[in-house]
C-alpha cells in the first residue's frame, strides 16, 4: 500500500519486503498478517506459526531498521498518505478465505516500522491494522474511518457505513438440543460487502466463535464482551422471554460495538459472521489453524516476567482494577435494590387489599378506604415497572462493563507478555553484545510489536473511556428518569385520592 510504502521510504529506505516482515512480526498473531507473509500460497497457517515462533528464529532479515529514536522521526509523515488507498484493495477484500489474493498484496500492505510509533489518536488508529485489511478499503470507507477517528464514537449516523442489528429471536427445538437463534441484519455501503444487505441467523455459540476469532486475530485490541453464558442450568430459564430479550440486547450491543470499531469492523471473521450463509462450514475450516495458534501463543507467553510496566499502562491497570471493583459493588447494590424493591412490592401487594377489606366493614369510610387501596395498587404497578426496567436496562449494562473491564485486563496482560518477551530478548542480546555490535532484527521486531500493541491498546482504551462515559451518563440518567417516573406515578395516584377523602365531609 502506498501509504505505508511512502512512509517507509521516508523513514530509511528499507525495502518493501523487509518492512513487511517486520510488520508481520509486530502484528504477532494477527490472523490477517498472512498477507504480509513471504508469499507462499497456503499463507495463513505457516505464516502464523512463523509469527508465533519468531522469537526463536535467528534474525534473517535486513538490519537496516533504525532504533527507537530514529523511528519516532518518521511519525510526522504517517497520517498524510492515508487517503491514497488504492482501488486495488477493493478486489483485495471480497472474501477473507481468498488467501491467494492477499498474497499479491502482501508486500504492498506492509508499513514501515517507523509508522508504528506515532502517538496521536489518528496515527494510532492507523497503526492498528498491522496488515489487517483496513487500509485496503475503498476511499469512501477510509474517509469514514477518518471521520470516525476524529469524532471517535460520536454517534453521528451520517458517518457510518455499516449497520448491524440483532433481533427476532427464535427458538429451535431439535432432538439433540434446544437453542435460540437471533436474526443478524446488516446494511452497509462498504465495498467489502458484496451486497448492501444481509440477513443471517446466528446462535449464541456463533457469537462466541466470532469473539474468539476476533481475540485471536486482533490480540492487540479490546474485544467487546459477550453476555455471560449462564451455564448454571435451572437458575436461569434460558428460554424465558426476559432472558432471551436481555441477551438479544447484549448481543446487539456487542455487534454494534464491533461495528463502531475502526479496526474490528473490518475484520474478515466479522465479515463472514455477518454474511456467510453457512457459518459452520467456515468454522470447521478454521479449526486446525485455531488449535495450533492457541498452543503457540501459550508457548510464547510462558516464562517471561515483566520488569516494569510503563507508567501509563500501570495506570490503566490500576484504573481497571478499581473500576471493576466499584462496578462490582454497584452491581451488587443494584441487585440488592431490586431485591428490596421486590420484597417491598410483596408487602405492598398485601397492604393495599387490607384497606379494601377494611372498606368492606365500613359504611361511610368505605369509599376512602377503597380509594387508598386502589392507590396502593397503582403504586405497586409503578414499582413493578421500575424494578423491571432496572433489571432489564440497568443491570445488563453494568454487567457488560464488568466484562469489558475483564477484556481490557486480558489485553493488558497480553501486552505485558509481549513486552516481557521483548525485554527477555533484549537481555539476551545484551549478554552477547560483545559478539554482535548490532541489535538483532528479531529484537527490533519484538520492540515493534510492543510499540504497536501499546498504540492499539491506548487507542482502544481511549475509545472505551469515551464509550464508557457516554454509556454511564445515559445509564445513570436513565436510572434517575425511571425513579422520577415511578415517583410521579405514585404522586398522581395519591393526589387523585385527596379529593375523594376531602369531598366527603363537605358534601355531607
Amino acid at each position: 500500500m502506498s501509504l505505508w510504502k511512502g512512509a517507509g521510504g521516508g523513514a530509511g529506505g528499507c525495502c518493501a519486503r523487509s518492512s513487511s516482515s517486520v510488520v508481520a512480526a509486530a502484528a504477532a498473531s494477527c490472523a490477517s498478517s498472512d498477507r504480509g507473509g513471504g508469499g507462499q500460497a497456503p499463507a495463513a497457517a505457516p505464516q502464523l506459526l512463523a509469527e508465533a515462533a519468531r522469537p526463536l528464529l535467528p534474525p534473517s532479515l535486513p538490519r537496516s531498521l533504525p532504533g527507537p529514536g530514529a523511528m519516532s522521526g518518521g511519525a510526522a509523515s504517517a497520517p498524510k498518505p492515508l487517503p491514497s488507498s488504492g482501488p486495488k484493495s477493493l478486489r483485495e477484500m471480497p472474501h477473507p478465505l481468498a488467501t491467494s489474493s492477499s498474497e499479491e498484496m502482501g508486500p504492498a500492505l506492509t508499513p514501515s516500522p517507523d509508522l508504528l510509533l506515532p502517538r496521536s489518536i489518528a496515527d494510532k488508529d492507523l497503526s492498528l491494522p498491522n496488515g489487517t485489511p483496513v487500509d485496503t478499503s475503498s476511499p469512501a470507507s477510509s474517509s469514514s474511518l477518518l471521520n470516525r477517528l476524529q469524532l471517535d464514537d460520536d454517534l453521528d449516523v451520517e458517518t457510518r457505513d455499516l449497520f448491524v442489528t440483532v433481533d427476532d429471536p427464535k427458538k429451535h427445538v431439535c432432538t439433540m438440543e434446544t437453542y435460540i437463534t437471533y436474526r443478524v441484519t446488516t446494511k452497509t455501503t462498504r465495498a467489502e460487502f458484496d451486497l448492501p444487505e444481509y440477513s443471517v441467523r446466528r446462535r449464541y455459540q456463533d457469537f462466541d466463535w466470532l469473539r474468539n476469532k476476533l481475540e485471536e486475530s486482533q490480540p492487540t485490541h479490546l474485544i467487546p464482551p459477550l453476555p455471560e453464558k449462564f451455564v448454571v442450568k435451572g437458575v436461569v430459564d434460558r428460554f424465558s422471554e426476559e432472558f432471551v430479550e436481555t441477551r438479544r440486547k447484549a448481543l446487539d450491543k456487542f455487534l454494534k460495538r464491533i461495528t463502531d470499531h475502526p479496526v474490528l469492523s473490518f475484520n474478515e471473521h466479522f465479515n463472514v459472521f455477518l454474511t456467510a450463509k453457512d457459518l459452520n462450514a467456515y468454522k470447521k475450516q478454521g479449526m486446525a489453524l485455531l488449535s495450533k495458534m492457541g498452543e503457540s501463543v501459550k508457548y510464547v507467553t510462558g516464562g517471561y516476567k515483566l520488569r516494569s510496566r510503563p507508567l501509563e499502562f500501570a495506570a490503566i491497570g490500576d484504573y481497571l482494577d478499581t473500576f471493576s471493583l466499584k462496578l462490582g459493588t454497584i452491581d451488587r447494590i443494584a441487585q440488592r435494590i431490586i431485591k428490596e424493591q421486590l420484597e417491598y412490592l410483596v408487602e405492598l401487594r398485601e397492604y393495599g387489599p387490607v384497606y379494601s377489606t377494611w372498606g368492606g366493614l365500613e359504611v361511610e369510610l368505605s369509599e376512602p378506604l377503597e380509594g387508598v387501596s386502589a392507590c396502593i395498587g397503582n403504586c405497586c404497578t409503578a414499582l413493578e415497572e421500575l424494578s423491571e426496567d432496572m433489571t432489564e436496562d440497568f443491570l445488563p449494562v453494568l454487567r457488560e462493563y464488568i466484562l469489558y473491564a475483564e477484556s481490557m485486563k486480558n489485553v493488558l496482560k497480553k501486552r505485558d507478555q509481549v513486552q516481557a518477551e521483548y525485554e527477555a530478548k533484549l537481555e539476551a542480546v545484551a549478554l552477547k553484545r560483545e559478539d554482535r555490535p548490532k541489535v538483532p532484527a528479531d529484537v527490533e521486531k519484538c520492540q515493534d510489536r510492543v510499540e504497536c500493541f501499546n498504540a492499539d491498546l491506548k487507542a482502544d482504551m481511549e475509545r472505551w473511556q469515551n464509550n464508557k462515559r457516554q454509556d454511564f451518563r445515559q445509564l445513570l440518567m436513565g436510572m434517575a428518569d425511571k425513579n422520577i417516573q415511578y415517583y410521579e406515578k405514585c404522586l398522581t395516584a395519591w393526589e387523585s385520592i385527596i379529593p375523594l377523602l376531602q369531598d366527603k365531609p363537605e358534601t355531607k
Binding site: Y319, F323, W358, L361, R473, I497
Partner: protein, 486 residues
C-alpha cells in the same frame, strides 16, 4: 419531635388560646347528627355531683347517679349538643401533657423502680373575661395512674366507649424503632398518646363531667385513694367473674351482636394493617438505605474518573440525601400508625361495651329464668294441695308445723320472691333498655368521631405519601442533573 402529626396532638399547639375544632378530634361536629343523644348530656347531673364531698360517696349512690344520667340521655334533644359542647371540659380548660420525665422511686413493695412521669398542665379558659389569663395548674402522673383512671371510667360508665390509652409497650412498631419503654422516642409518642387520651375524655359529653377525672387533672395527692373509695374495683371484679356467662346469653340484641362482630373485624383488620404496614415500612427503609450505598461507591468511583468524577461525586451526595430522607418519612408515618392504633384499641373499648351489654342481658335472662322457675314451683305446690292459699295461712304458718302449713309457708315465701323477682326483672328490663339507649347513643357518637378521625388520618397519610413522592422526584432530578454533567 417530628412534624406531621395531627395538629391536635402536636405540642406546638400547647398554648392553645381556644380549643380549635381539631383539638377536640374526639368530638363530632355539632349538629351533624341530631339524634346523637349522648352528646346531649344536660348539665344537671354534674351540678348535682359537685356539691357532694368528693370521694366519700358510696358506690350505690354513684350508680344511681349514673342511671339518672342515662335517663336524661335517653331524651333526644337535637338542639342540646351545642350546649353540651359548651359544657365540655375541653372547652373550659386547656389540657396538655407537656413533659415526660424519667424518675426513680420506690414502689409499694419498697423496691427501687424506674418509671416515666408525665406533666399534665391545665389552664382554665375564661370565656367571659378574655383579658384575664388563668394560671396554669400542673401536676405529674404516671402511666399506671392513667391506667387506673381509665379502668375506673370503663367500669363506672359501662355504656360508654371509653377512649383507649396508648399502648403500654411498643407494639406493631416498625423494627428500627426501639420497643424499649424508656426509649425517648417511645416516651415521646406515649406522651402524645396520653395527651390525646385526656383530650378525648375531656371532650366526651359524659366522661368530661366525671369528678374523678377532674381530680385527676387538678388534685395531685390523694387521688388514688379517692378512686379506690369509689369501690369501682369491686364492680369490676364481680363483672369479671360473670364474664364467662356472656357466652350463654339466649336472646342477644342483634345490634350489639353486629357491633361485637364489627369490633372483632375492625380489630383484626387494623392489627393486620398495622402488621403489614410495619413490614412495608421495613422494606421501604431497605430500598432507601441500600440506595445510600450508591453514595459511597459513586464517591469512591469518582476518585478514579476524570470527566465523570465531579458528576458522580455530587450524584453520590444526592444518593446520601435520598437514603437519609427515609428516616423522617418513616418517623412521620409512625404517627399515622399511632392514629390507627388508637382505633385498634378503640375496637377493644367497643367490644367492652358489647360485653357489658351481654352481661346485663344475661342478668336479665337469669332473673327471668329464676322467676319462671319460681312461678312453676309455686304452681306445683299450689296444685299439689287442695287448699287455696290465703292471707290467714301466713299467721298459721308461724305456729303450726304441719305439712299443709309448711307448704303454705313455702308458697308464701315463693310468692314474695316472685313479687320481688318481678320487680327486679322490671327494673332490670328498664335498666337494660336504658343501657341500650345510652350505649347506642354513645356508639353513634363514637362512629361519627371514628369516621371523622380516620378520614383525617387517611388524608394526612396521603399528604405524607405525596410529600414523599415529591421528595423522591426532587432528589432524583438533582441526581439526574449531576449525571447529565458527566
Amino acid at each position: 419531635m417530628p412534624a406531621g402529626l395531627a395538629p391536635a396532638r402536636s405540642p406546638a399547639d400547647t398554648p392553645r388560646p381556644s380549643p380549635a375544632p381539631g383539638a377536640a378530634m374526639a368530638r363530632p361536629e355539632p349538629g351533624s347528627a341530631p339524634a346523637r343523644s349522648a352528646a346531649a348530656e344536660p348539665p344537671s347531673p354534674m351540678e348535682s355531683t359537685e356539691p357532694e364531698p368528693s370521694g366519700s360517696r358510696p358506690e350505690e349512690e354513684e350508680e344511681e347517679e349514673e342511671e339518672e344520667e342515662e335517663d336524661e340521655d335517653a331524651l333526644p334533644a337535637p338542639e342540646q349538643p351545642l350546649a353540651a359542647m359548651e359544657d365540655c371540659l375541653a372547652k373550659k380548660m386547656e389540657i396538655t401533657v407537656s413533659e415526660a420525665e424519667k424518675r426513680t422511686g420506690r414502689n409499694a413493695m419498697n423496691i427501687q423502680e424506674t418509671y416515666t412521669a408525665y406533666l399534665i398542665e391545665t389552664r382554665a379558659v375564661e370565656s367571659q373575661s378574655e383579658g384575664q389569663c388563668a394560671p396554669v395548674e400542673s401536676l405529674w402522673r404516671r402511666y399506671s395512674e392513667f391506667e387506673l383512671l381509665r379502668n375506673y371510667l370503663s367500669v363506672t360508665y359501662p355504656h360508654i366507649v371509653v377512649p383507649p390509652l396508648p399502648e403500654k409497650r411498643a407494639d406493631f412498631v416498625w423494627h428500627k424503632l426501639s420497643a424499649d419503654n424508656m426509649d425517648p422516642d417511645f416516651v415521646e409518642r406515649r406522651r402524645i398518646g396520653l395527651e390525646n387520651f385526656l383530650l378525648r375524655v375531656a371532650s366526651h359529653p359524659v366522661l368530661c363531667q366525671d369528678k374523678i377525672f377532674y381530680a385527676f387533672l387538678m388534685q395531685e395527692g390523694g387521688w388514688k385513694e379517692m378512686v379506690n373509695e369509689t369501690g369501682f374495683q369491686l364492680k369490676a371484679d364481680s363483672r369479671l367473674k360473670a364474664l364467662n356467662a356472656t357466652f350463654r346469653v339466649k336472646n342477644p340484641d342483634k345490634r350489639f351482636t353486629e357491633l361485637k362482630h364489627y369490633s372483632d373485624e375492625l380489630q383484626s383488620v387494623i392489627s393486620h394493617l398495622l402488621r403489614v404496614r410495619a413490614r412495608v415500612a421495613d422494606r421501604l427503609y431497605g430500598v432507601y438505605k441500600v440506595h445510600g450505598n450508591y453514595g459511597r461507591v459513586f464517591s469512591e468511583w469518582s476518585a478514579i474518573e476524570k470527566e465523570m468524577g465531579d458528576g458522580l461525586q455530587s450524584a453520590g451526595h444526592h444518593m446520601d440525601v435520598y437514603a437519609a430522607s427515609i428516616d423522617d418519612i418513616l418517623e412521620e408515618e409512625e404517627h399515622y400508625a399511632d392514629q390507627l392504633k388508637e382505633y385498634l384499641f378503640y375496637a377493644e373499648a367497643l367490644r367492652a361495651v358489647c360485653r357489658k351489654h351481654e352481661l346485663m342481658q344475661y342478668d336479665l335472662e337469669m332473673a327471668a329464668q329464676d322467676l319462671t322457675s319460681k312461678k312453676q314451683q309455686c304452681e306445683e305446690l299450689a296444685t299439689g294441695t287442695v287448699r287455696t292459699f290465703s292471707l290467714k295461712g301466713m299467721t298459721s304458718k308461724l305456729f303450726g308445723q304441719e305439712t299443709p302449713e309448711q307448704r303454705e309457708a313455702k308458697i308464701k315465701v315463693l310468692e314474695e320472691q316472685i313479687q320481688e323477682g318481678e320487680e327486679q326483672l322490671k327494673s332490670k328490663n328498664l335498666e337494660g333498655r336504658d343501657f341500650v339507649k345510652s350505649a347506642w347513643a354513645d356508639i353513634e357518637r363514637f362512629k361519627e368521631q371514628k369516621n371523622h378521625d380516620l378520614k383525617e388520618a387517611l388524608i394526612s397519610y396521603a399528604v405524607m405519601q405525596i410529600s414523599m413522592c415529591k421528595k423522591g422526584i426532587q432528589v432524583w432530578t438533582n441526581a439526574k442533573e449531576c449525571f447529565s454533567k458527566m
